[in-house]
Amino acid sequence: MTDEQTIVFIIDDDISVRESLTSLMRSVGHAAESFESTHDFLMSERPEGPACIVLDVRLPGQSGLEFQRETAGLGIHLPIIFISGHGDIPMSVSAMKAGAIEFLTKPFRDQDLLDAVHRGIELDRKCKRDQARLDGLQQRYQGLTPREQEVMALVVNGQLNKQIAAELHLSEVTVKAHRAQVMHKMKAKSLPDLVRFADRLDLVIPKH
């Protein structure tokens, strides 16, 4: 999983800055893609893989801060590192509040930027991994029959087989069989596992 290609998206209107940042990112093993504007970035097809964005605050057209707000709305959850021509404290505060990884003033130390990029990529990697797990879980859950889903909900709610049988008007043996199917299909090794999955799936526990 760690040998997956990491990628840094660079958005800056100055070609010199774009080129130098691209070179720096590649020199430490990240793939880099640069864009002249946020519009170009949004239009592009973005490869998979853990990534982050290095974004100039001052851009023609849409500013970096506006872009930050917009991406949240578009469901793009890439971590953002801001770079700015001049340190503007109110601007950096609002960027950090909106969830930016870092706010660097040009010229910056390369290590500061690389550290921030590293943190951003790790964050994205974790995000993506969590998302992938959740997707898998979701798929498995969808693979359950409606009856099995019912049983699962009651199981994670801490009810005994007997109680479940009474509630669903089934025999205890049938409940046991369903329960084994749930554990198998959800790939849960133990009851705590199953409870955790349910929690992650945000299952609505039926109320009595």
Binding site: D14, S16, V17, E19, S20, L21, S23, L24, R26, S27, V28, G85, H86, K106, P107, F108, R109, D110, L113
Partner: protein, 540 residues
């Protein structure tokens, strides 16, 4: 043009004792006189009618004249303290003399203060006080006309002005007191002018004749001179005084409390009021003009500042951008080399980009420099004294608003320097406004701005500007000429950097030192014109 020359011209265009009367003002004065003549003519048929028991109005009349003449005195004294011309002082004392004498005149007027049971000062007191007043006032006007020190003596120190004012007021008070004393104590010894409380004796006829003669002399002198607004309206005053005498003494037949006598009093009141009204209206007009010019100046200053800030920010951004990518490229290059298998191709590309960005930054610097150079092509001989005067004139409102005492020390023999007038002006302007700003928080000592300009050695000029402001910390001192370093909350930190650049481009130096015990001194030197441009001098 010397420093004082410019200031003088500026003040000249504002003081009513120096500004020549405009056509509008002249018309108004002529109209006033015509109206007064109409009143005079209208009174003629009724002049001899006696209005009994009207002496009750005498105190009101006296009080009104007293107040008006006292206010006129005050305003003229203020004018004197600005213009510092003894002639104006003499005129103001005339009003004070006249105003003070009206009080004993009213008090001794027969039957007016009967209820007060004042000791009887005799039948002749009132008329002798009136005579002193009538003959005294034109003498003061004559003094105003004779004293010709109107070369604006603004450099007369203020403490001397104050002493002159206090001395004159004391003198006039003693004079009035003395007149009263003589009149009251030696009523019997004085020649008899009043036969009774209402009628005059034959001796009286010499008084109006003398008064008219004096008025005529003043009027003719004023007519021939007629150089200021004040002169113009003094002529109106003299006309009213002449009408007053004519009514009181001839048309009214010397009969007290007659229609002629009362309309004479009316003219007397007008004469006490004319100058007051002119002074007041001129002051109001001046105030409006001042407010307008301050607003205009502030706008100019703000726009100049904004333009400079915008320029600085642009330059900074333009240089910062290639600088940032140069650093990043260098970092990348180092990292390509540090790899276990160094990538020379990538390193070479990074280095090439550094070269390219370096040239780009160089171009920005070059364009900034050429911007300065464009201005410096228009160099010429600059008179620093004139330049300083011009800047001080522009910052007059800041000086006034900041309650700053301005001291200037100039050398009339200053050599011309070669340079760009506007750039040097900006340097001086910048330093002065910094100095004023630095004194804004000071409340426990005088805020003194001292500007001096003198010959340093044979061909160089040394300019210094001292303030008694908050001074600077050691940190400030080390960095104050650095770009973007500022001690002001709203400063860009470009001003002093530009100042130094300009002075150095003129072949001079700009530095600062501490002012003992408070504040800062900024100094710069500039080479004299003949040192830089010997050929230019030869050609002219």
């Amino acid at each position: 043009m010397s420093l004082m020359g410019t200031t003088e011209d500026d003040v000249r265009s504002f003081l009513i004792s120096l500004v020549p009367p405009g056509r509008h003002q002249t018309n108004l004065a002529v109209f006033t006189v015509i109206m007064l003549i109409c009143v005079l003519v209208l009174t003629l048929p009724f002049a001899h009618i006696y209005l009994s028991h009207t002496e009750v109005f005498v105190p009101a009349y006296a009080a009104a004249v007293f107040v008006n003449e006292l206010i006129t005195t005050t305003l003229l004294l203020v004018l004197y303290s600005v213009q510092r011309s003894t002639a104006v002082l003499a005129l103001s004392m005339g009003y004070l003399f006249s105003g003070l004498l009206i009080i004993p005149w009213a008090v001794t007027f027969p039957d007016v203060f009967a209820q007060l049971r004042l000791p009887d000062t005799g039948l002749q007191s009132t008329v002798w006080i009136a005579i002193s007043r009538r003959l005294g006032f034109p003498l003061f006007i004559l003094a105003y006309l004779m004293i010709r020190d109107d070369a604006l003596s603004i450099r007369k120190p203020f403490h001397r002005v104050r002493r002159a004012i206090i001395g004159s007021i004391t003198g006039i008070s003693f004079l009035v007191g003395g007149i009263c004393l003589i009149v009251f104590t030696s009523d019997d010894a004085l020649p008899e002018i009043m036969r009774d409380a209402r009628n005059i004796s034959s001796l009286w006829q010499y008084v109006p004749a003398t008064a008219l003669l004096l008025y005529a002399i003043c009027l003719i002198t004023l007519w021939r001179r007629r150089r200021s607004l004040l002169d113009l309206w003094l002529m109106v005053v003299l006309c009213t005084l002449i009408f007053e005498v004519i009514l009181l003494s001839y048309l009214g037949g010397g009969l007290r409390l007659s229609v002629g006598w009362w309309s004479g009093r009316f003219f007397g009141f007008v004469s006490a009021t004319v100058i007051l009204l002119v002074l007041l209206s001129e002051t109001t007009l001046l105030y409006a003009r001042l407010a307008r010019s301050i607003a205009a100046e502030r706008r100019t200053r703000e726009s100049r500042l904004t333009a400079m800030e915008a320029l600085s920010a642009t330059i900074a951004h333009e240089i910062n951008q290639p600088l940032a990518s140069m650093i990043t490229n260098a970092d990348a290059g180092v990292r390509w080399l540090q790899k276990s298998k160094p990538d020379l191709e990538e390193t070479r590309t990074a280095l090439e980009r550094i070269v390219r960005d370096g040239h780009r930054a160089g171009k920005v610097v070059e364009s900034v420099r050429s911007m300065f150079r464009k201005g410096t092509q228009e160099r010429g001989p600059v008179d620093l004294n004139g330049l300083i005067a011009e800047v001080l004139r522009c910052s007059q409102s800041e000086v006034t608003i900041g309650h700053v005492t301005l001291q200037t020390e100039v050398d009339k023999q200053l050599p011309l320097v070669t340079g760009n007038q506007i750039q040097l002006q900006q340097v001086v302007w910048n330093l002065i406004s910094n100095a004023i700003d630095s004194m804004r928080p000071v409340t426990d000592r005088a805020r003194v701005l001292r500007v001096s300009c003198k010959r340093q050695n044979r061909d160089a000029v040394l300019f210094s500007i001292e303030d008694t402001g908050i001074g600077m910390t050691l940190d400030d001192k080390n960095q104050i000429f650095e770009p973007f370093y500022t001690t002001k909350s709203d400063g860009m930190g470009m001003g002093l950097m530009f100042c130094r650049a300009i002075i150095e481009s003129h072949g001079g130096q700009l530095w600062m030192k501490e002012n003992i015990p408070h504040g800062t001194i900024f100094l710069f030197t500039l080479p004299g014109a003949d040192e830089i441009l010997p050929d230019m001098r030869a050609s002219t």
